[in-house]
């Protein structure tokens, strides 16, 4: 029996006083990795959202349980198990859910495992509560790493489900605005005609020595013409 304690809270957020005379005892199922446990939980009607039949129940975090809706709870061990699974090998929710169903059958669980959607929602709710943060900083490299390796990976979700993405590429003229002058200036090491640069590069890139020498001879002739034009 999970008694009402100081951590008791309604899903509406109400944490105030409640009527101790109206405490009820309800069935409560705790899902673990191998079996479901049938327990009892004390609940009471919430004074703040009484019309919606909201009920106050204990948080159960101290017992290692995520109280989902005062009827069903999930052992932290089960939820952490999924985190460990999907970060170690490709394990979609469906595959993990199926594995747990099989484990329940094998263990003759008194209650079958919850729906896939319920488990998925519970896991995301649990993750939001967990302090799982990372500073995204290498302890060796420090805050300004000398070497950074960048790469994109096709881990994408459906385009029609994009709601509010704000990648750093977004710029605003109100915040910072730089006008870069248009220029025809070449940035290459050789500032001469592009065709000449390309043909010299091609000549130098010949893999056979004799062909390379032959091609370079041809390129020298072009250079002579350019230098002659420059001189006169």
């Amino acid at each position: 029996m999970f008694l009402l304690d100081d951590s008791a809270q309604c899903s509406c957020g109400y944490v105030g006083t409640y009527d101790h005379d109206n405490i009820l005892e309800d069935a409560f199922i705790v899902h673990t990795s191998t079996s479901a446990l049938e327990c009892k939980i004390q609940t009471v009607y919430c004074q703040a959202c009484i019309n919606t039949r909201g009920r106050i129940g204990s948080d159960l975090g101290s017992y290692g349980i995520l109280n989902w809706n005062n009827r069903v709870g999930f052992a932290h061990e089960l939820l952490n198990n999924y985190t460990s699974q999907f970060t170690s090998s490709e394990t979609p929710f469906f595959a993990f859910h199926q594995t747990i169903i099989n484990a329940y059958v094998e263990d003759d669980s008194p209650v079958s495992f919850c729906r896939l959607q319920t488990f998925q929602d519970a896991w995301f709710a649990f993750i939001r509560l967990q302090e799982i943060g990372s500073t995204m900083q290498c302890p060796i490299c420090g805050p300004n790493p000398a070497v950074i390796i960048a790469d994109g990976v096709a881990v994408s979700f459906p385009s029609h489900r994009v709601e509010s993405l704000e990648p750093p590429i977004i710029s605003s003229k109100d915040k910072a605005w730089v006008r870069l002058k248009r220029t025809t200036m070449k940035l290459t090491s050789f500032p001469g005609p592009t065709n000449l640069r390309k043909s010299v590069y091609k000549a130098l890139n010949q893999s056979v020595r004799e062909e390379r020498i032959q091609k370079l001879n041809e390129e020298f002739a072009k250079f002579l013409v350019i230098n002659w034009n420059f001189s006169y």
């Binding site: 500073t135 790469d151 994408s156 979700f157 029609h160 750093p168 605005w177 940035l187």
Partner: protein, 344 residues
Amino acid sequence: MDYSTYTACLSAYHRLEQSDDKKLYTRRYRQFLLQVFSADSVLQLVPNAAIQLLQKYSEGCPPDPRLQPLIPALGMIFLNAYHPINNQYSGMAELRLLSGTLAQRANVVFHHLVHDRETVIEPLQSSPPTLPRYWETTGCYYGRPAVRYRPYYEGRDSDKSVDTAESEVCRKFYSTYTKQSLTGGLMALWCPHLICLGFHKMPHAEGRNDIFSALFKYFEKAPETVIYDFACQLAPYCMSREPLFFKDTCFAVDEMHAKGHVGCSQASFMSNYMQVRPEVININTSAAECSNSGLSRIKKSISYMDQKHAILYTYVYLCVWNRRQERKHQSRLEKELLRIPQDM
């Protein structure tokens, strides 16, 4: 314009190739000239820090040891053309002249990039405000608040396409992202120790802008080296927008992707720097590839999720990944510490 220094150097190389007496540095000479005549920016070959050193060398000073890691192609010639018996370098007259021209050219290009710009709206001094757990909405998490705003670059950032290729040479196509039904994927930054330094979800296909903006917005100081499979085009992209911020950054293509780049010179390849920079030899240039192969574990799950779940799922994966890497480093360190007294 006078191209005599280029012609003289080509002639010197031509003579070396034709002579029967094979010199060790002939091949190195060719590699250097290939970089000079490549389509890459002069600043890729002669970074800002090398300009003065190269100028001094062209004026008759002996080659500064700092030049070698800055311009590996030139450094390799110095290594191979050095005669320890008479403490001299052979056949360097033409190279000195060309060095002067290149230093001058790099200086002109750099100053042109720095000065040919006008700030219309000065970026606010304060960093952009960030609400706690705001990343759950934006899909952008770098573990730190943004340091500065990304400016709008008039004349470069067109409204139609923010990241159109600006060069005729090397283009990389992102065939994996062409499925219009899916978002552009995930852009992640990694350190060589396989720690994820941050990520953002891309609404559209990956481009140079994603890396430029992430580095400029979230890092106080630009990294010394940026390794990216499209670095040959990332360098001019970054230098044309923020030359002062990126002036000491070396952009290089990792070893694994170097083979696919046929239009770029060696100056853009990490292998080029590995020859002369001992500190980068041990860098795992394919760290991102290793980590991204790990990210493929969540690819299928994410492809069925909505935005908020996709962001949270990716965040959890990367936080756990980082924690595991940190623990690995910690245990390696502990093992090494235990070994010290035994060795003594």
